[in-house]
């Protein structure tokens, strides 16, 4: 939905939203009407519903026009850009939520979940979609999503319109297998492509005073971060770029992880956690003189499915507790362990190589380069769901559970496109099958 508000709202909206009969200005207050959306060259790009609410009896107190687009995110964006080109200024959807998230007061996961609870489902999806998908990757994701929506439309359509939509279970398996192959091929190329395109983000985290900032400086070879004996020195996230073995790296230094009453530090800790969540690689630092504590194990457990290097710092002091503990902890969990000293520089090259090593698998430089870890994650979840649907078919499960797996796969990709999956599947049912009595 695009909402235009302000004294010239009706003029602005009227410039691209044309009623079938008459002018927007003459539309009765608070009456939904059908309109064609027209771009600057006169092409109709969507049919939409519009409603005019004249001030002061509107949300904002000013004249307000709401345009409900039909064709999903792209069309909505087009409508928005039309509104902007006719003189409107943009206020982002979910702006407030985004601000709350960006100011570090709530986590991304929380923001998303709450949006799902409080905002229109479509708006939550838009927020999740976050960064815009474009180019070849965008086209590819939309094609996969389209295929999943088609399959969903068929199984779900057959359940909801048993008299009108034929049962196509037979062909489903083959289509899912082709799709699984494509998703899998993409993911095989993903780590390298991901690293080459965006560079990678590497985040230093750990309890206070373990030597994160010292390591940050040593890796960058400059005195960028403040180092002191006091735990809790670093507050905000520091960010510097450099290159390790030809790999563009954004290195983050963060506040030491601990529970604290102090508000500035508490925000810092939240941000540290959020930064680690977003990073491609986590360098979890422990102090060789202190060893690995219970808290460390909790954090390592939380991030056990991520690319984590367990870094033992201050090895120049020769205490050895951290090294000993690391052997026990990292063994079963499989994290790589690297011993370093920021004072002598020992281990720094090994650390850089270990990080680069994460990205050396896979084929040559991909034709298609994925854009971010988040996108890769969505595709991975889509593949998991497709594989589940395939085994459910093989094992002879009923259509309802197969449909749920297909739906989950489509929803994983929809996090990148912002589409409302049930609604989009329904659109396909109606356009492909002669449904209804």
């Amino acid at each position: 939905m695009v909402r235009v508000s302000g004294p010239e709202a009706i003029d602005v909206a009227g410039a691209f939203a044309r009623l079938r009969k008459g002018r927007l200005h003459d539309l009765e207050d608070r009456r939904l009407a059908l309109a064609r959306l027209v771009d600057s060259s006169g092409n109709v790009f969507d049919e939409a519903l519009v409603v005019v609410m004249r001030g002061p009896r509107s949300f904002t107190g000013e004249d307000t026009v709401e345009v409900y687009c039909h064709g999903g995110r792209l069309v909505t964006e087009k409508a928005l850009s039309e509104a902007l080109s006719h003189g409107a200024r943009q206020a982002e959807p979910g702006e407030f939520t985004r601000r709350a998230y960006l100011s570090g007061r709530i986590s991304l996961e929380e923001a998303e979940a709450v949006l799902e609870v409080v905002e229109a489902r479509s708006e939550a999806a838009l927020f999740q979609a976050g960064r815009r998908l474009c180019g070849e990757l965008g086209a590819m994701v939309r094609r996969w999503e389209g295929e999943l929506l088609d399959i969903l439309a068929e199984v779900q359509g057959a359940a909801d319109f048993p008299e009108d939509v034929p049962d196509q279970r037979e062909q489903m398996y083959g289509r899912l297998r082709v799709l699984a192959g494509e998703l899998d091929g993409f993911l095989k190329r993903a780590p390298l492509g991901l690293a080459l395109s965006d560079g990678i983000t590497v985040c230093l985290v750990g309890r206070p005073n373990v030597g994160k900032s010292s390591l940050f400086n040593a890796l960058l070879r400059e005195d960028r971060a403040i180092v002191t004996d006091f735990p809790g020195t670093t507050r905000d996230v520091l960010r510097e770029t450099s290159e390790w073995d030809g790999l563009p790296v954004t290195l983050l230094d963060t506040a030491g992880l601990r529970a604290t009453e102090e508000i500035v530090e508490a925000i810092g800790v939240l941000r540290a956690e959020a930064s680690a969540e977003e990073a491609e690689v986590i360098l979890y630092v422990v102090d060789d003189t202190e060893g690995i504590l219970e808290e460390d194990i909790r954090w390592l457990e939380k991030w056990k499915d991520r690319r984590v290097v367990l870094v033992v710092s201050k090895v120049d002091l020769g205490v050895g507790s951290g090294v000993r503990d690391a052997r026990k902890v990292a063994g079963p969990a499989g994290q790589k362990v690297v011993k370093v000293s920021s004072v002598t520089g020992d281990g720094l090259d090994v650390l850089k190589r270990t990080v680069a090593g994460f990205f050396e698998s896979g084929a040559g430089v991909g034709d298609i380069v994925p854009g971010s870890a988040r996108q890769v994650d969505c595709v991975r979840r889509a593949l998991d769901s497709v594989s589940e649907a395939m085994s459910e078919l093989e094992e002879g499960w009923t259509d309802d559970v197969v449909a749920l797996s297909v739906e989950r796969g489509a929803k994983a990709l929809a996090e990148l496109t912002g589409r409302d999956v049930p609604e989009a599947a329904l659109d396909r049912v109606f356009s492909r099958f002669c449904v209804g009595k």
Binding site: R31, E110, V114, V117, D160, V435, G436
Partner: protein, 601 residues
């Protein structure tokens, strides 16, 4: 006020109005129905059928909460089928053909027994007090009816127009008058109205059909019922007649398309895609050689047969030509022609999940007036509006069902939170937690809530407790290990069914088949069910986020004035409740950030 606890005025006498009135009356409020024609109760202007995918689940949920629709359906059924029998428990749905006169008579009796007062008249204005609350209605003849709350369930009657070809009538369905003025009164109160349209098929005189030329579909032989309190019955003797359109029918339609008000622009309202007219189908799918038509007998002693699948608004002469081209209908006589109807509706994003208008406390809307379609969807909203109307008057917590609790929750969440583009119909695909929301477990899911609300009778509660006990017994029998794996675990293999184990566990035979089939689903689908429960819990955690009772609202920096007032007035216990009383998303975010960070900045 002249009732002991309070009074409710319900406007309308259709499926939503009846459930609303019954609920509020049974909860002890003095309840009055005002309707254009009080002789018409729960009528079925579309086809005489109840249930189907998504809708059947709703009917059973209404039943578990103490509503009337399922009982009326079982009482009036002439045949019943289980759809999607092989597609899994999430989508299995009953559908009944009913005798519409018997159905209406059941409802009329229920209203009478409950003591709902009936008043005939056309409501023109909503009365709003100085405090901004709705406090009654004014009729066209000037009479006023006062009430503590008002429930509008006027269906498709607001400013309705009936269109048959070139003929446009200012009326409601089948010769009933339209309701004029109320829509304007709502707009005057700041309510945004939209316009939808829907259509019906012609009705044919029974005696004018040559039944021998039609194909017969046999009924099924398993016992079924919608209500937990009805004894399942077998419908083996029932049959259903059907036929197909042919090239001649399509030729008639193509020749006359220019006279179709749907396609030539006379109709402005937006129609449902799942219920296209026959002219739409022929134009949009030109390669389809035929479209199926079902013949539905409306009631035992009437003469009318509804031609399901032949919805149209073509002129009457074209309709006759079209009908007569069908097999067995060469001499057919149309008793009521098909028609399109356009009507105003309240854009439902203006409603709280309690179905109260956000901006006009005390005014509830339910059913097609909210842009939904279908008898079942209407009845469900009526029930919820009726319950919440009563809760408001009694000063109790409102009842809001979540998406993972009931199809009714999905329905209300969808219409109040996403813009609807066509009359909203329930489908199983809309419920993401559909494996949890089975028709077969509606009683388990919702009877306890119905009991807490006060609509579940002692008798029903007793039966429910017995069934719960039997379920426990069955689960224990299956979980017990005998030598190797427990039967419960073996059932997870899709190749096994519970019946395979009857020889091993003969005690199972003593339990009712409904109990066994339900426990079988629980065992067989356990992994899938648990996964959905996990997904549902993720969101529930945020809804359930506690708001401390002594919260000093003034210290939550950034809250809007309105948000502060709402929190002070209602002191909601959780974030979910705060949203239900109308806290805006941005205020909710601020509150959450405050609660989460413990931060006072």
């Amino acid at each position: 006020m002249n009732g002991e606890i309070g009074t409710v005025v319900v406007v309308g006498s259709g499926h939503a109005a009846v459930e609303a009135a019954l609920a509020s009356r049974r909860l002890g409020l003095e309840t009055t129905i005002v309707a254009l024609n009080v002789a018409k109760v729960s009528s079925m202007p579309c086809n005489p059928s109840i249930g189907g995918p998504g809708k059947a689940q709703i009917v059973s949920e209404i039943d578990a909460l103490g509503g009337e629709m399922a009982l009326a359906t079982d009482h009036a059924t002439t045949s019943m089928r289980l759809l999607n029998a092989s597609k899994g428990p999430a989508v299995q749905s009953l559908r009944a053909q009913v005798d519409k006169k018997v159905y209406a008579a059941h409802m009329r009796r229920a209203l009478g027994e409950a003591g709902v007062r009936m008043v005939q008249g056309m409501v023109r204005d909503i009365l709003v007090g100085k405090d901004g609350r709705a406090c009654g209605v004014r009729l066209r003849d000037g009479r006023e009816l006062r009430g503590d709350v008002v429930v509008l369930a006027t269906g498709v009657y607001l400013e309705s127009r009936v269109i048959i070809g070139e003929k446009i009538l200012d009326s409601g369905p089948i010769g009933e008058p339209a309701s004029h003025g109320l829509s304007a009164s709502l707009k005057g109160l700041g309510v945004v109205m939209g316009r939808f349209k829907t259509g019906t098929s012609p009705r044919i005189k029974r005696g004018s059909i040559s039944w021998g030329e039609l194909s017969i579909e046999e009924g099924t032989d398993r016992p079924y019922a919608f209500s937990f309190m009805s004894k399942p019955r077998v419908w083996e003797s029932e049959v259903c007649y059907s036929t197909y359109t042919n090239e001649a029918t399509h030729k008639v339609i193509r020749k006359n398309v220019h006279r179709s008000p749907l396609l030539n622009g006379t109709i402005e309202g937006i129609g449902p895609r799942y219920c296209p007219s026959i002219e739409d189908k022929v134009v949009r799918f030109p390669h389809r050689a035929r479209h199926q038509i079902y013949l539905e007998i409306e009631c035992g002693d009437s003469d009318d047969v509804y031609l399901l699948g032949l919805s149209t608004s073509l002129p009457e002469d074209v309709q006759l030509e079209m009908v007569r081209s069908l097999p067995g209908m060469a001499r057919a006589v149309i008793s009521v022609p098909g028609y399109a109807i356009e009507y105003d509706y309240v854009v439902p994003s203006q409603l709280r999940p309690t179905l109260e208008l956000k901006e006009i406390p005390g005014l509830f809307t339910a059913g097609q007036i909210n842009g939904s379609s279908g008898y079942e969807e209407a009845a469900a909203q009526g029930l919820i509006a009726g319950i919440n109307a009563a809760m408001t008057v009694m000063g109790k917590e409102p009842v809001v069902l979540q998406r993972d609790e009931a199809y009714i929750g999905v329905l209300i969440d969808d219409i109040t939170r996403t813009p609807i583009r066509e009359p909203y119909r329930m489908l199983t695909g809309r419920a993401e937690y559909r494996l949890l929301l089975r028709q077969s477990n509606a009683d388990t899911r919702l009877t306890p809530l119905g009991r807490r609300i006060g609509l579940v009778s002692d008798e029903r509660w007793e039966c429910f407790r017995i069934k719960e006990g039997q379920m426990e017994t069955a689960r224990a029998l299956l979980r017990k290990r005998r030598g190797g794996e427990a039967v419960w675990d073996l059932l997870r293999n899709p190749r096994y069914s519970l019946a395979d184990f009857f020889p091993e566990i003969p005690e199972l035979r003593d339990l009712p088949s409904g109990v066994l089939s339900e426990v079988e689903i629980e065992a067989k689908y356990q992994g899938f069910i648990e996964r959905q429960e996990r997904e549902a819990r993720r969101l529930a955690r945020y809804r359930g986020k506690a708001i401390p009772p002594g919260l000093d609202v003034a210290r939550v920096v950034g809250l809007s004035k309105e948000g502060q007032d709402k929190l002070r007035k209602h002191s909601p216990a959780t974030l979910g409740r705060a949203l239900e009383i109308g806290l805006s998303p941005s205020d909710a975010m601020i509150l959450l950030a405050y609660l989460r960070g413990g931060g006072e900045r």
